[in-house]
């Protein structure tokens, strides 16, 4: 059902936790399956300096959260904004169709966090 990459991220998720002083927080929940994700970012000079996540959800939910943090760490906000649910799914070598909504959640939580950052730091 799940690719080895998904299982790897599920068993050894990267960047679990919270940030003490986050610059942006994004939270997304899926009412259908009950998965919830919260992503916190630290931004410096337009770059994502640090990112942490918390996730209540299935293997795919945890794996996609972990993968999205790996994809954005050290990237610019613009690069991060370009990340879509497909990017996340592809990075994991694919997700079962029934679980694509999890990668959607991860991408949405990321965009939510960036938007939160932009709101708080409006120039």
């Amino acid at each position: 059902m799940y690719t080895p990459k998904v299982m790897e991220h599920f068993e050894h998720p990267r960047n679990v936790g919270t940030l003490e002083h986050p610059d942006g927080i994004g939270k997304q929940g899926n009412p259908v399956c009950g998965d919830v994700m919260e992503l916190a970012i630290k931004v410096k000079d337009g770059m994502i300096e640090d990112v942490k996540f918390k996730t209540f959800g299935c293997c795919a939910a945890i794996a996609t959260s972990s993968m999205v943090t790996e994809l954005v760490m050290g990237k610019s906000l613009e690069e991060a904004e370009a990340i879509s649910k497909q990017t996340v799914a592809d990075a994991l070598d694919g997700l079962p169709p029934a679980k694509m909504h999890c990668s959607n959640l991860a991408a949405d939580a990321l965009h939510d966090a960036i938007e939160d950052y932009r709101k708080k730091h409006a120039e």
Partner: protein
């Protein structure tokens, strides 16, 4: 390969060696069609009828009240849809419960769409069907009441005798889906007042693809399939002799071992629950207050997703299920737990452990050792979400 421990007997069971041994000659040597008049046919016919006697004996029925089908689902379909095809005019209502298997619920839904009145009984917080609601809803328009004997997800056993009494008082027929219970708990159809009953081979150490429908003498159903006159016209199709022989052997073993097995599995199940209650904070035990099948335990772990738990246990060599196997692939929380009043998010955090032939103390120890750190890890990833 590391040892694997199977705790999903409610999903399916291994075919026991004695059962496999009994059936194999019927694949390779005694392969006749029971409808054939020659010696090959006659020996197959003999095996068929011997098995029928054994199955009848398990549930306290007469052999001529026992019919072999392709599976439990088929038996459920025959009992509901087949019965309604023969139901008296004016008897338009079917009463069943919210915690039934989808084979009952989907068939009832189809019948509802055809114009029959369908009533779904509520259950209480321990998965017991509301018999007051049954009393309030049963009347002389009720054709059939169908309430499962043992629930597949929680193991909770219903008060079948009382439910059947209520049905009969209104002139309705009583069916029970005993797919999960047969071979695990004593069922006497006469003593309980059961008119129709469904059973499944692969839940009691026989192969997949064999079921039983018990019809009390005098109860009429219209067959769902058309063809030959097999099973006295009830179920056309050349009889699955190897699996029929298998289920005969399996029920024989089940009957002779029932009391000992019930005691052993209750002991293991209770030990597991006590240990997990002690070592994993906030665990909820669904259905624990009610009478249950001996080896079934349904637990919720708030703060963790059931699928994530299931895969983690799988990696540790322990096979369990989240809710019922046949609803995997759907993203809905268990309809059984929801009907019991469990919050959807908590229902999503549930696991079912189900024991059977081959379950050992060692397996239970392994769960006790590996589950707490798994829950802790996943709770820390969720961070309170």
């Amino acid at each position: 390969m590391n040892t694997r421990y199977y705790f999903d007997h409610n999903a399916t069971t291994p075919v026991r060696p004695e059962v496999a041994e009994a059936m194999i000659p019927y694949l390779t040597e005694l392969y006749g069609n029971p409808s054939s008049a020659h010696s090959f046919g006659r020996e197959a016919r003999l095996a068929l009828e011997k098995s029928r006697e054994k199955v009848a004996s398990l549930i306290g029925a007469d052999p001529d009240e026992v019919f072999f089908t392709g599976c439990g689902t088929e038996s459920d379909n025959m009992a509901l849809a087949g019965f309604m095809r023969s139901a008296a005019d004016g008897r338009r209502k079917i009463i069943t419960s919210k915690v039934e298997h989808s084979a009952i619920l989907k068939t009832a839904k189809m019948l509802g769409q055809k114009g029959y009145d369908i009533v779904l009984l509520d259950v209480d917080g321990t998965c017991r069907v509301d018999l007051d609601m049954l009393r309030d809803n049963v009347d002389d328009s009720t054709a059939l009441v169908s309430i499962m004997h043992g629930n597949n997800e929680t193991g909770v056993i219903q008060d079948i005798a009382e439910a059947a009494r209520i049905a009969h008082d209104a002139g309705a027929v009583f069916h029970t889906d005993a797919v999960q219970s047969a071979g695990k708990a004593w069922i006497d159809v006469a003593g309980l007042g059961i008119d129709m009953l469904s059973m499944s081979g692969h839940k009691l150490n026989a192969p997949k693809g064999i079921g039983v429908l018990y019809l009390r003498r005098g109860v009429t159903i219209t067959p769902l399939m058309y063809g030959g006159s097999h099973e006295r016209g009830m179920r056309p199709g050349t009889e699955n002799i190897p699996s029929i022989v298998a289920i005969g052997k399996a029920v024989e073993l089940a009957a002779s071992e029932m009391d000992g097995k019930m005691a052993k599995l209750s002991g293991l199940r209770d030990r597991l629950e006590v240990a997990i209650e002690d070592s994993v904070p906030d665990t909820v035990f669904n259905g624990r207050g009610a009478t249950r099948l001996a080896g079934t335990s349904n637990m919720s772990f708030p703060g963790v997703d059931g699928e994530a738990l299931m895969f983690s246990l799988d990696r540790a060599g322990i096979a369990v299920s989240t809710g019922s196997a046949c609803t995997t692939g759907e993203v809905q929380p268990s309809h059984v737990l929801v009907a019991m009043g469990v919050e959807p998010k908590t229902a999503q955090s549930s696991l079912r452990f189900s024991m059977g032939w081959g379950t050992t103390s060692e397996g239970v120890d392994h769960i006790i050792e590996t589950l707490p750190p798994i829950v802790e890890r996943l709770r820390s990833i969720a961070g309170g979400l």
